[in-house]
Amino acid sequence: MKDMGNADNSIVPSNIENNTDNTGGAEASVSEDPVILELKHVCKTFKGGKKSTETKAVQDVSLVVRQGKSIGVVGESGCGKSTIARMITQFTPTSSGQILLDGQDITNIGPSGAKEIYRKVQMVFQDPYSVFSPRMQVGTFLEEGLLHFGIMSHAEAAKEAVALMEQVELSPDLLTRFPHQLSGGQQQRVAIARAISIKPKLLILDEATSALDVSVQKQVLKLLVKLQKRNNLSYLFIGHDLAVIRSITDQVIVMYAGRLMEEIDSEELDYHACHPYTQRLLGSVFSIHDRDVKEIELEYLGMEDDRESKGCVFCNRCPYAMDICSKEAPVMRTLHDNHRIACHLKDF
């Protein structure tokens, strides 16, 4: 596997030109399924912000999502997960790198081009209530999406709304309800119904089940898996809960301070993930199955300063940090077929 770009990749576009033949992270995947989404060396730098400086929110991120597959992006808040979603959906411009959707370069096509790509990619957010108009009935809300894209007539849309409710396992009786009359789980199901209504190829789910109570969450997760299989959908599933991400994705991408740390088959996450940061995350999960005393670091303050590191962004927290770690950013390399890691350590 070729490396994923210059170690201290800046946001200067010339940097990627050297790598135009490099299709990025998951190229070596043995899967034959067509590629739906591809990010190549994508960077995002916010100007201004808290410290009236720049924030390198996303640095040199490459990833591939294939048809019918679910890719998880996991990491702590501020690591750049939502920014990736926002670049894909054109809510925020991309600083450098390339985003391909279904083979088409959609990097910075902007709001005017966005309508076209929303046929192919839809989002589901943590707070479904934020996407509803409070005075719009569920039925109207579902029909609106269909009518907006001129896919069908009013009568057809009304019929389709009933079918969508059935797909997300809600009673069509709820079509006449207003959002505030629904529970959180019902609201999220309606948001999912709307997202799949125009038959997109890709759903980006940003912390979509994070605010739900566990029993509701599990039901919604099961629904998402069913919908994905039934409709051959691709998912980019963003979240912070490792166990949830592992459970419903094929592959996981672990990020820290804007950079990729590790990429691994979800099946392998618990036993074979080997990046020191992934291990730190795994070690922080509280499980009802073990009450072992955890080894917990007690000094960590926040990743904001880590972003600026010339070397590995994790080096301030890493128990294995060596001299080179603070000087040179590790380059993503392949350990096995679908297992990639950015770390200077030689043996795992």
């Binding site: 997760l221 299989k229 809960d241 490792l242 166990a243 099946e267 960590y300």
Partner: protein
């Protein structure tokens, strides 16, 4: 010895339905209790009821005895005096309860002076020492910061520091780690547990995270619709729950070593 006894506690916000319905439990000295259950089940209301922090409109019945003192009959002034010294409280977002236009140091001073005579320098020294105890680096810098200049995790640790400054006998915590990242959550949980080990502080914590409850609690109480449907030692409740409701709640948790949903459904 029990530090806290709750007997038949019922709390109603509006007359229709009880938010808390005949809840009884007792807390042995130096123990850690976790109240778990789905949102709206009444966990926070129980906690607020015990501490006398409910809105005036709430109707409270039953008996709460903390350090032998009847908390429901106690005067507001007496409760205020107890809170901060013997009783400490941590909320989910401590930052929200901080004064945005005053530095952490100034707020710390104000807090300390409610409970004793401290010079400016004594306040600062004590604050810095406690901030160090919760492993906040550069405590001097933290004291000179305004709340918005700190991350959520740092504010939460400042909240914990303030709460433990006067070595409280009991700490009430309402989802103190729910807004935190997993690695920071792990640190905060560890620090709370250290409190009990080092200072014998009893802890009553509300959480929706069963894994956290299993890890830190001696006793777990499960709430559903205002009722305490299950109560037992942590191993009993986690491994041998008596109630169907608890079993379902536990089964709903997505765990690292479960069969993956992507394989098992669809």
């Amino acid at each position: 010895m029990n530090i806290l006894e709750v007997e038949n506690l019922s709390i109603t916000y509006d007359r229709e339905k009880s938010a808390v319905d005949h809840v009884s439990f007792s807390v042995p000295d130096h123990s850690i209790i976790c109240l778990v259950g789905e949102s709206g089940s009444g966990k926070s209301t129980v906690l607020h009821g015990i501490m006398g922090l409910l809105p005036r409109s709430a109707l409270v019945k039953g008996k709460v005895t903390l350090f032998g003192q009847d908390m429901i009959k106690a005067k507001k002034s007496r409760l205020n005096q107890m809170r901060g010294k013997d009783i400490a409280v941590i909320f989910q977002d401590t930052g929200r309860y901080m004064n945005p236009i005053s530095t952490i140091g100034a707020q710390y001073r104000e807090f300390l002076r409610q409970h004793g005579k401290y010079s400016k320098q004594e306040c600062r020294d004590l604050a810095a020492e406690v901030l160090r105890r919760v492993h906040l680096q550069e405590p001097e810098r933290v004291l000179d910061s305004y709340p918005f200049e700190l991350s959520g995790g740092m504010r939460q640790r400042v909240g914990i520091a303030m709460a433990i400054t006067l070595n409280p006998k009991i700490l009430f915590a309402d989802e103190p780690t729910s807004a935190l990242d997993v690695t920071v959550q792990a640190q905060v949980i560890r620090q709370m547990m250290n409190l009990r080990t080092k200072y014998g502080t009893s802890i009553i914590m509300v959480t929706h995270n069963m894994g956290v409850a299993a890890y830190m609690a001696d006793y777990i109480g499960v709430m559903q619709n205002g009722k305490l449907v299950e109560w037992g030692t942590a191993p009993e409740v986690i491994h041998n729950p008596k109630q169907e409701y608890t079993r379902n709640l536990l089964a709903a948790i997505v765990e690292m070593d479960d069969e993956r949903l992507i394989l098992s459904c669809g």
